[in-house]
């Protein structure tokens, strides 16, 4: 939702990055204000996931230019854990399996770390158990999730629910959800999207990275951005997503090249 009194959360200017010497991002400009929902769409290999991971501080990418401010602070000088503590959440496209570590233990440590950061009291295992079970209802999750190892042997849908559960626990200011819809059947998609909608407030913001318009039937974006070749080549409202669904990405790319040539 676009609010009159919103404040700027994230401001990205001219962001460039490489991985293994290959240029992936070629100058991204992107602004997110509180209360907004953004969708970043685009074909495979357009740099969407790279952009998402880079904002979270993934070590595999090398920054080559540009600036990123989060609530006015230089985000790029913060370690990944500091970015998380500052309120940036990345919902992983492929959530990582951690054998031997119980989900409940992992969730509690993550939760308490953020509580401490925010100057609030930690929850002991019993208090946390009550708290997390309440949140799990939101996502229609089976309580046995808590006893299983983090993401180990989870189905695609279970992994994604677990990501949104973490978002619900950590209450980030900016949630970047990287292809949260992939691997979900229609029912799971409805549940996950319902969870995300309930978490959206006027004080936080959500960035959805997705291939398909399908997800956007459930979570309605305020802005839709098309990424291609490491740049955002078009920005529009929610109708743009519908248009992309019927016409594909090719025309946007052609249009962009024509404009670029005209400007040059």
């Amino acid at each position: 939702m676009i609010y009159q009194d919103s404040i700027t959360l994230l401001e990205v200017r001219g962001l460039c990055a490489t991985v293994s010497g290959i240029e992936i991002l070629k100058g991204i400009d992107f602004t997110v204000r509180t209360g907004e929902v953004h969708a970043i769409m685009g074909p495979n290999g357009s740099g969407k996931s790279t952009f998402a991971k880079l904002l979270a501080g993934h070590p595999a990418y090398t920054l080559t230019g540009g600036t990123v401010a989060f609530e006015g602070r230089n985000l790029l000088e913060l370690a990944p854990e500091a970015r998380a503590r500052a309120g940036i959440f990345l919902g992983f496209q492929y959530p990582i399996e951690i054998p031997g570590v119980a989900n409940s233990q992992f969730l509690r440590l993550a939760y308490n770390t953020l509580q401490t950061q925010r100057g609030k009291d930690e929850l002991d295992p019993l208090e946390f158990d009550d708290f997390v079970r309440e949140k799990m209802k939101l996502l229609e999750m089976n309580p046995d999730f808590l006893d299983r190892s983090v993401n180990e042997g989870f189905s695609g849908g279970e992994k994604k629910r677990n990501e949104i559960l973490q978002m619900a626990l950590l209450e980030p200011k900016l949630a970047i959800l990287d292809e949260t819809d992939s691997g979900l059947d229609i029912d799971a998609l409805r549940v996950v999207a319902g969870g995300v909608n309930q978490l959206a407030t006027k004080d936080n913001a959500i960035v959805l990275v997705t291939h398909y318009q399908r997800l956007l039937n459930y979570i309605v974006p305020d802005y839709v951005h098309v990424m291609d070749g490491g740049r955002i080549i078009k920005t529009g409202g929610k109708d743009l997503a519908v248009e992309l669904e019927t016409r594909g990405y090719e025309w946007v790319s052609t249009e962009y090249k024509t404009t670029a040539r005209a400007t040059a």
């Binding site: 979270a56 501080g57 993934h58 070590p59 595999a60 370690a79 990944p80 854990e81 970015r83 998380a84 503590r85 959440f89 990345l90 992983f92 959530p95 990582i96 951690i98 054998p99 031997g100 570590v101 119980a102 233990q105 992992f106 440590l109 993550a110 770390t113 953020l114 950061q117 190892s149 973490q166 950590l170």
Partner: protein
């Protein structure tokens, strides 16, 4: 490997200090005279001297084993001190223990009084080679349990020692066992009589102190019919540049329905980050399930030593007897570990379980080597083995050498193995949830070792968890 990970695994040894206590030290080298001197110093009976001399003759004819997957310069056995004893001899109570020694224990974080009182643990302290303090002995004696140094036991219970010494690990069993049998200076002796359940965990803290003194501990534990005991062994050593040889022998005997649980946490000096110095730990540990329905369980957490060569084993002689081996072996920097177990099934319906967790970091090399042998008469024998390896970084190595010999068609033997790696992606996942690399590694490692830690007595499990954290912890950059 990320710098965070690198810093994490480069943690200096925290227990490196030398206590200054006068020692009664033998000249370097090994020959019959040295053995006679050790025996005489300890006022040993003739049969024990003969035991030693026979072992020495065996040893002279043996070759140092070459098969382990470890590399080290040749050991000069004539350049080792085989006997050293702290000057203060016999003490009536723990208050008389050298304050310097007590401070050493403080530094190690093992306040003995507190430990004994709070945890209800009897501590038989081995300092270099001679016992200097024994607590709770009286209390144990009331239920007929004998717990003390083996030197004492030789004088006070000669028939028991003579009956069992060398019956599980014969003096000519292997190169290092033979060496130990010839020159062992002290160790623990524990006897649990028929039907007695030991009311507390028995614990020994070992500590190697005299520079270049070989340590040759000898431990003998006997549980009679229906008896049970849980024995804890924890070790740590000061920092030295020269390698120290340690060749201990531990023998366990379980009679009908007896139950022995032997737990070890080992944190000896492993050498510096370049692999200089550190303890050579060549140990023979073996338990004999002599009686029917008996059970012997080994649990070890091996984090120290430059080289570990150790295979706590079970000989399952009695029908329905059970052998267990639970192990965590962590190697870092240039440490080498070749460790595992042997389960020899002889009796009918014997069962064994092996759970081994190897963690390699730095440039270290960690091998599991295990033998499961089902002999022709062992009808209905069963074994389950699980060997998991975890790699931290990309400069280390992990190997698994399982030997399975089945000579009975009714046997059921299962073996599972896995290798995993703490990767950048896992650490990033933790980081994205606000959790730093140190805590993440500690959580992953503890999760990996959970099946083994569950086997440890409560206080020991806490200590072991802390120890693994320490070994991998560091300033995260």
């Amino acid at each position: 490997m990320s710098t965070a990970l690198q810093n994490l695994v480069n943690q200096p040894y925290q227990h490196g200090f030398v206590t200054e206590i006068e020692s009664d030290v033998a000249p370097k080298g090994l020959n019959e005279d040295i053995i006679r001197m050790i025996s005489a110093k300890k006022r040993e009976p003739e049969w024990l001297l003969e035991f030693r001399l026979k072992a020495y003759q065996h040893w002279l004819g043996m070759e140092e084993p070459q098969w382990p997957n470890v590399r080290y310069p040749k050991i000069d056995f004539q350049n080792i001190i085989y006997y050293s004893a702290p000057k203060p001899k016999k003490l009536a109570s723990i208050d008389e223990v050298d304050p310097e020694l007590m401070r050493t224990f403080e530094k190690l974080g093992v306040p003995m009084h507190e430990r004994a009182a709070l945890a209800g643990v009897a501590v038989d302290v081995i300092f270099d080679s001679v016992s200097v303090a024994t607590t709770y002995k009286q209390k144990l004696a009331e239920v007929g349990i004998i717990f003390g140094s083996i030197s004492e036991a030789v004088h006070e219970h000669p028939d028991l020692v003579r009956k069992y010494l060398g019956t599980v690990v014969p003096s000519g069993d292997n190169y290092y066992a033979a060496l130990n049998s010839a020159v062992f200076t002290d160790g623990s002796f524990c006897f649990i009589p028929k039907g007695v359940k030991c009311p507390m965990d028995l614990s020994t803290y070992f500590r190697i102190n005299t520079q270049e003194s070989g340590q040759f501990e000898r431990t003998l534990i006997i549980a009679e019919e229906g008896a049970s005991v849980s024995y804890l062994e924890g070790c740590t050593a000061p920092k030295f540049d020269t390698n120290q040889l340690h060749a201990a022998v531990v023998e366990l005997v379980a009679l009908d329905r007896a139950d022995i649980k032997y737990s070890t946490v080992q944190n000896w000096y492993a050498g510096d980050a370049q692999g200089v110095g550190g303890i050579y730990n060549f140990v023979t540990k073996r338990g004999l399930c002599q009686g029917i329905n008996s059970r012997i369980s080994w649990t070890q957490v091996e984090t120290g030593s430059a080289i570990t060569w150790k295979y706590p084993s079970c000989v399952l002689l009695g029908d329905n007897s059970v052998g267990e081996f639970y192990s965590v072996a962590l190697t870092n920097n240039y440490q080498q570990a070749d460790t595992g177990t042997k389960m020899v099934h002889i009796g009918k319906n014997t069962r064994s379980t092996i759970v081994s967790k190897g963690i390699s970091a730095g440039h270290s090399n960690n091998s599991y080597r295990g033998l499961v042998r089902i002999t022709p008469k062992a009808d209905g024998a069963r074994n389950y083995s699980q060997c998991d390896s975890m790699l931290v970084g990309d400069q280390c190595g992990a190997n698994t050498f399982p030997y399975i010999q089945v000579h009975n068609n009714s046997a059921k033997v299962e073996h599972e193995a896995s290798t995993s790696k703490i990767g950048e992606d896992q650490l990033f996942y933790f980081a994205q949830r606000g959790i730093g690399a140190e805590e993440a590694v500690s959580m992953i490692i503890n999760g990996f070792c959970k099946d083994v830690f569950q086997q440890l007595p409560m206080e020991f499990a806490v200590e072991a968890t802390k120890l693994l954290g320490l070994k991998l912890e560091g300033s995260v950059g």
